[in-house]
Symmetry: C2
Subunit: 345 residues, 2 copies
């Protein structure tokens, strides 16, 4: 019963045709006419034997493994990595591709290490995705250029590899606009002084939106953690802010503490907004934190989709590579925002 699984010749002999014909029918080879009757016989033979083509054998022959490699930079370092992987995996399954994963160490160096890439190439993956969340630009090793590739979270220094990034600036702008629509005027920003794309993008989004609306900006810097958010928020409250927009959710944790210390109830007396939608923070705070969700799932899916296009040769490669694709961050409204209490400012 659990004999060895059926091969293409088993199907062929059961259907009374040649393996060639079985291959044509099952793969729906274009420009190949097979009579409907024959095709039906082949299909039922395949079904009866529960024939599963050996993907390894096919790969050897077609020089395509139907496998894509995802190289994550220090997967464990970011709590969001899971959603990138999930997006990539689901899109891969949708396209009948298998997703292989290798983790590489987090590195200061903006150059991608060639070893993990080589491990994928040895596997003859059809393409590779490199996912990072820390760099502006990376420089790809030579061996990565031998195959279709796509970047998540960084752009290619040489401008040859398509990349996808979250639209941090628009995300921050949407927060400020929402706060203004609710009636806030004195909107403080608890910024991070780290020099990474996220800090710059969010700060720009905040500042330009404030300026565009004729509002003065109110920025205090702190470390991008609860302690930094606490200190920055204290100063922001003392400067008369009715709403505090935090660089990230971790800072928002500290903002809540600062509000409690200054006896400001949230959201009635102080509105707070975070960024990242980093589980379990927003739902662990009381009231639940209004924040911004990063398009991690979407970036993962985009990467596989784009890679598949490159592999199939629809490569507007150069077009895409010159302008990184930017995916929207979406506002996740929960309970930490209300109109300002006193009409300050």
């Amino acid at each position: 019963m659990t004999a060895k699984p059926a091969g293409i010749r088993d199907v062929a002999s059961l259907a009374g045709v040649s393996p060639t014909t079985v291959s044509h029918v099952l793969n729906e080879t274009p420009h190949t006419r097979v009579s409907e009757e024959t095709a039906d016989r082949v299909r039922s033979a395949a079904a009866e034997l529960d024939y599963r083509p050996n993907r390894l054998a096919r790969g050897l022959r077609t020089q395509a493994s139907d496998m894509v490699g995802l190289l994550t930079e220090e997967i464990a370092a970011t709590p969001h990595a899971g959603r990138i992987i999930l997006g990539a995996q689901q899109e891969a399954t949708r396209r009948n591709l298998t997703l292989a994963i290798i983790n590489s160490e987090l590195r200061e160096d903006p150059a991608i290490s060639p070893e993990p890439v080589q491990a994928f190439l040895d596997r003859h993956v059809d393409g590779v995705i490199y996912a990072t969340v820390y760099h502006d630009e990376i420089v790809a090793p030579a061996n990565l250029r031998t195959r279709p590739a796509v970047l998540i979270g960084a752009r290619d220094a040489d401008g040859n590899i398509p990349a996808v990034l979250p639209d941090e600036t628009a995300g921050a702008a949407s927060v400020v606009k929402m706060l203004i629509a609710r009636g806030h005027r004195r909107i403080g920003f608890a910024a991070s002084a780290e020099d990474v794309p996220a800090t710059r993008g969010r700060l720009i989004g905040y500042e330009t939106t404030m300026a565009d609306t004729g509002l003065g900006s109110l920025t205090e810097y702190g470390d991008p953690d609860a302690r930094g958010g606490y200190a920055a928020t204290l100063r922001l409250i003392d400067s008369g802010a009715t709403a505090v927009f935090c660089y990230n959710d971790r800072m928002a944790i500290g903002a809540y503490r600062a509000a409690a210390e200054r006896s400001r109830s949230i959201p009635e007396q102080l509105s707070i907004v975070g960024f990242d939608d980093q589980a379990p923070i927003p739902d662990s705070l009381y009231p639940a934190l209004t924040t911004v969700t990063l398009p991690h799932y979407e970036m993962g899916a985009w990467a596989v989709e784009t890679l598949a296009g490159l592999i199939d040769g629809h490569g507007e490669h150069s077009l895409m590579a010159s302008h990184p694709t930017v995916l929207p961050c979406t506002l996740a409204e929960r309970d930490s925002v209300a109109p300002p209490h006193a009409s300050a400012g």
Copy 2:
């Protein structure tokens, strides 16, 4: 220059030997004597051509893909999944295996879905790992039994598949022992009423250790989130607890709030301990939360190691399957524990 990569025959002709010999040398085939001189020639030819054996071709021939599949149940649902993947991936790389990942949906049903397993089998993976964090027991689909398999986070209902689990009970016990060693007597447990292995194991660890030490247990139930921890801790404080051990870190967030509300400073007037070491909670709280780290990385690595053993046929399969392997949870001591203030109790 970027001509097609060297094949085994290129190496063979450069070294002046047959492909057979190249294969023997490079794979160090046992029971095969090749003169050192010839072997050296082969190795330098391979190095010179930067020969990388085609793993697909080898797999077709040897009927082994050197690929293992990791099936994660709703990878995105758990913030810990990343470390399981990391452990599995690193152990796989160490063994020259490739890790493929497929996510399956979270299901109430304790039966593993056969489809994702089939997707792996079509790929001819050498073995599959099924990782879940929610079930007691799972029932494996028939197609999983055709290949070496290993479970993370659940045991096999039929007792045929080796499994690995965190030692929740011992982890909880170690917390209680530590608290007792610090001088606490009235140690409260903020428990969860959810019926999953983790809730049961931690409660048992708490209760038996208290009982073994002749201490009465002090348990309050709540939802396993910040709000639940808040309510339970309030009751625990009112019952005179000098230390509160929370079922998980999310409850500990609420415990901190409860302590603030009752004007108990942490850790001087109230010690708090969590469980899970769920980033970014412990370091986002002030003072930083002492908690328990789950062996996620280790379970991932164990799974690949065990699977590799099964694949190579060192299968004490049945022995292992009957008794799930249990890996220790380790105490992560930070700043939320101190000796009790007043010698209560």
